[in-house]
């Protein structure tokens, strides 16, 4: 087969009069290359290899698995088409019931945690932006939990919120007029240890992002605002916040994705209980694959989940880009 350009030239209809064929493009697909035309692709190659081996191939294989009744040791892997997908969309099947229930749990967690992690991180960064003594020390203190593994962090907060015997309940028992609360086994309240623990664990990362962004805002903006008579709130609202927008977008997107992938915290603290109300969708997919050995069903679920996550992230991008004034509204 000949190269694409000759090919299209051969097939292309005759140009209509008045229409310029191939207008000169700035920075098109063929940038100016002085050396070997392959050079840019060689720079891309290392990442491309990793990307194909660890992303494209596994996703492709997962699609294959989800369309067959797949068993690693079986000689025949019968093709079942979209059976595992339709089951996820048919009310009444266990997959439908639990996938969407755990999907709802995960969404609830994300909706609560993401704004908290943005607001708390911004608050801490603003507090620690002021030149107070021991600033680096406090930055380190708030950042340190980030380096803990999820099992350490999970056990820690499970002990803190343990029914009856955890520190929180011992304190509640000592204070007059408060009663111990069964955090780990009460529907709804079981989210409190998970959310508090998650915020404590991950807020430091967003805080560092905001700290860096705050330091990068030119002081001149604040001086100009002060001359215009802006108070502290107006400075924040009209200078700081818009200047932080790109970081907020980045933090919101990464935090949302991380929150949707919730797994370790409820796994360690509540095991998904009470009554599966804190089971995340990733926990359910793992259970389907590695406890029940239903790999095809689990592959279908994780692919559907991946698509939903893409939709959410795309939506988020659009919303925030519009806010930034750079996207198509």
């Amino acid at each position: 087969m000949s190269g694409p350009s000759t090919d299209s030239a051969a097939v292309a209809p005759a140009p209509r009069p008045g229409v310029t064929l191939r207008p000169a493009r700035r920075g098109g697909l063929r940038p100016r290359v002085d050396g070997n035309p392959l050079e840019p692709y060689l720079y891309l190659l290392p990442h491309a290899v990793l990307f194909f081996v660890f992303i494209v191939y596994p996703v492709g294989f997962a699609i294959y698995v989800s369309l067959h009744r797949w068993n690693i040791l079986s000689d025949n892997q019968p093709f079942v088409g979209a059976e595992f997908y339709t089951r996820l969309l048919t009310p009444g099947t266990p997959q439908f019931t639990f996938f969407w229930k755990t999907m709802g749990n995960t969404a609830l967690f994300t909706v609560i945690t993401t704004p908290l992690l943005i607001v708390c991180a911004l608050g801490l960064a603003l507090l620690l932006h002021k030149p107070i003594p021991g600033r680096s020390f406090f930055r380190a203190v708030f950042f340190l939990p980030t380096i803990l593994s999820v099992s350490v962090m999970g056990l820690l907060w499970k002990w803190m919120f343990e029914n009856r015997t955890g520190l929180v309940n011992v304190v509640l028992d000592m204070i007059p007029f408060t009663e111990p609360v069964a955090f780990l086994t009460t529907i709804g309240l079981a989210w409190i240890p998970i959310i508090v623990g998650t915020v404590w664990w991950t807020v430091g990362f967003n805080m560092i992002l905001y700290s860096a962004a705050l330091a990068a805002i030119p002081q001149a903006y604040y001086e100009a605002a002060a001359i215009d008579g802006a108070g502290a709130w107006a400075k924040f609202r009209y200078v700081t916040w818009p200047q932080l927008n790109p970081v907020t977008l980045f933090a919101a997107v990464t935090t949302t994705i991380a929150s949707f992938q919730l797994f370790g915290q409820p796994h360690v603290m509540t095991a998904g209980g009470p009554l599966r109300t804190t089971q995340s969708v990733m926990m359910f997919v793992t259970e389907e694959a590695f406890t029940r050995f239903q790999f095809s069903s689990a592959a279908a679920m994780s692919l559907l989940f991946g698509v939903l996550l893409l939709v959410v992230t795309g939506f988020q991008f659009r919303l925030t880009l519009r806010d930034l004034g750079r996207g198509r509204a």
Binding site: R69, N71, L73, S74, T93, R164, T165, T185, F293, S297
Partner: protein
């Protein structure tokens, strides 16, 4: 240059020496999940085997159980399976039926000096499917009752005679439960919200499901139908409802303990001397001993109505299927399995907290030192949840049903729902078997 040459010569020499050694010895690998305090004991046993068998070198790889179960089938499919693997009672049948485990023929067992009648029958049966042997028991655990002797004495109970049936349990529980004003359940003015000490809390979810399983087994419940009945779950029977209701009532009706217990809060409460009894596995022994408690261990009491029973678990040594099997390696693997499951090795293994796998060890004078030796009779009453491939499907639904009942759903409704969930999941599982 000269130095490089010398170095090369040295390397070649080393390679030859190693190669020579490898020719005389069979190298085999062994995966197991004993990664807790039992790890040094298992490593000691493997070292002892290597020392006494110069022609075989066993390399043991401790891998947490969950990871081990995930890796085994891919390893078998890739022809990279280890020669020996330890599998637990709740997954072994699934691995056998999915074709990951090789049969041990009577000749192989005889050559390795493994006799079926040496082991507790229920343990041995766990490694058998359709009359073919796939696994040899190496480790055994069960649900037991720990009790605080000081609290028993304070309540006027005999600390050497803990309750062993429902009547005794209810009487003892009433005596052991005291509120802040010194009242017992049933006394006028008893306040269940301010328990000073209490009998026992029934937790959620896994440990609660384990306790409920034991009591239901005592009521004669079989949980799941036979293979001919497509493993149809049947744990919504009246006997199962009775067992579940009894356990729910311990907290909700009798106030013999908190209604919001977790396994963790019950362990804490027992260690702190607030709970007089604790239902948990034999593996808790060393932790309670280290807490400096004056406590005893007894068989799980018969809270059900039909027969004594308790939950049991076990680990079994199996031969994974090899793509390119080397007969010498398989023979070495069988030699290792045979040696590891001999009474002497089993006795040594019990020092790590496991129970004997064979009556001969359970009744031996050397084992009498072990506090668990008092439970020899209970060992023959364990009902091991095994023998069908969809255990996780059943167990998840059972635990959820019991949790729902503890949270206030009527027992019959919770169990009916659980049976529905389990049968849908098991039917799908059946389709996925090769």
């Amino acid at each position: 240059m000269r130095r490089l040459l010398t170095f090369k010569t040295l390397l070649v020499g080393m390679a030859l020496a190693l190669g020579g050694a490898a020719l005389a010895q069979v190298q085999i690998t062994y995966w197991h999940g004993f990664t807790g305090p039992d790890l040094p004991v298992m490593e000691g046993l493997v070292a002892e085997f290597n020392a006494t068998h110069p022609d075989i070198v066993v390399t043991a790889e401790p891998i947490p159980w969950g990871n081990l179960f995930q890796q085994l089938e891919p390893a078998v499919a890739a022809g990279q399976a280890p020669d020996v693997v330890a599998l637990n009672e709740d997954v072994i049948t699934g691995f056998i039926l999915r074709g990951a485990v090789a049969e041990m023929t009577p000749d192989m067992l005889a050559a390795a000096d493994v006799q079926a009648d040496r082991f507790f029958p229920s343990l041995w049966e766990t490694g058998v499917v359709d009359g073919k042997v796939y696994g040899v028991p190496v480790h055994s655990v069960m649900l037991v009752m720990y009790y605080n002797k000081d609290l028993f004495e304070a309540a006027g109970l005999d600390p050497e005679d803990p309750p062993s049936n429902r009547e005794e349990f209810l009487a003892a529980a009433e005596a052991l439960t005291v509120d802040a004003n010194g009242n017992h359940p049933g006394d006028e003015g008893f306040d269940p919200s301010s328990l000073q000490t209490y009998a026992v809390g029934i937790p959620t979810p896994w440990m609660g499901g384990t306790i409920a399983y034991a009591v239901a087994a005592q009521n004669g419940v079989t949980f799941v139908g036979s293979a001919d009945e497509s493993y149809a779950p049947n744990f919504d029977s009246e006997a199962a409802q009775e067992a579940v209701q009894f356990l729910v009532d311990i907290g909700a009706e009798h106030h013999f303990g908190p209604t919001d217990a977790t396994e963790g809060s019950e362990i804490d409460a027992f260690r702190q001397g607030a709970a007089a009894m604790n239902f948990n596995g034999v593996w808790m022994l060393s932790q309670y001993r280290d807490a400096g408690l004056n406590f005893g261990v007894a068989a799980f009491p018969q809270l059900g109505t039909e027969r004594p029973a308790t939950w049991g678990g076990s680990s079994h040594l199996v031969l994974p299927v090899q793509r390119n099997g080397d007969p010498a390696e398989m023979e070495a693997a069988m030699t290792f399995i045979g040696w590891m499951t001999q009474p002497e090795q089993n006795l040594e293994w019990t020092s790590a907290g496991g129970l004997p796998t064979q009556p001969e060890v359970a009744t031996s004078p050397e084992y009498a030192e072990n506090p668990m030796s008092a439970l020899a009779e209970a060992m023959s009453n364990t009902y091991v949840l095994t023998g069908f491939p969809f255990l996780a499907q059943f167990r998840g639904a059972w635990d959820a049903a019991f949790e729902a009942a503890l949270h206030g759903t009527a027992a019959d409704q919770a169990l009916t729902q659980g049976v529905g969930e389990a049968s849908a999941a098991i039917q799908e599982g059946l389709l996925s078997l090769p």
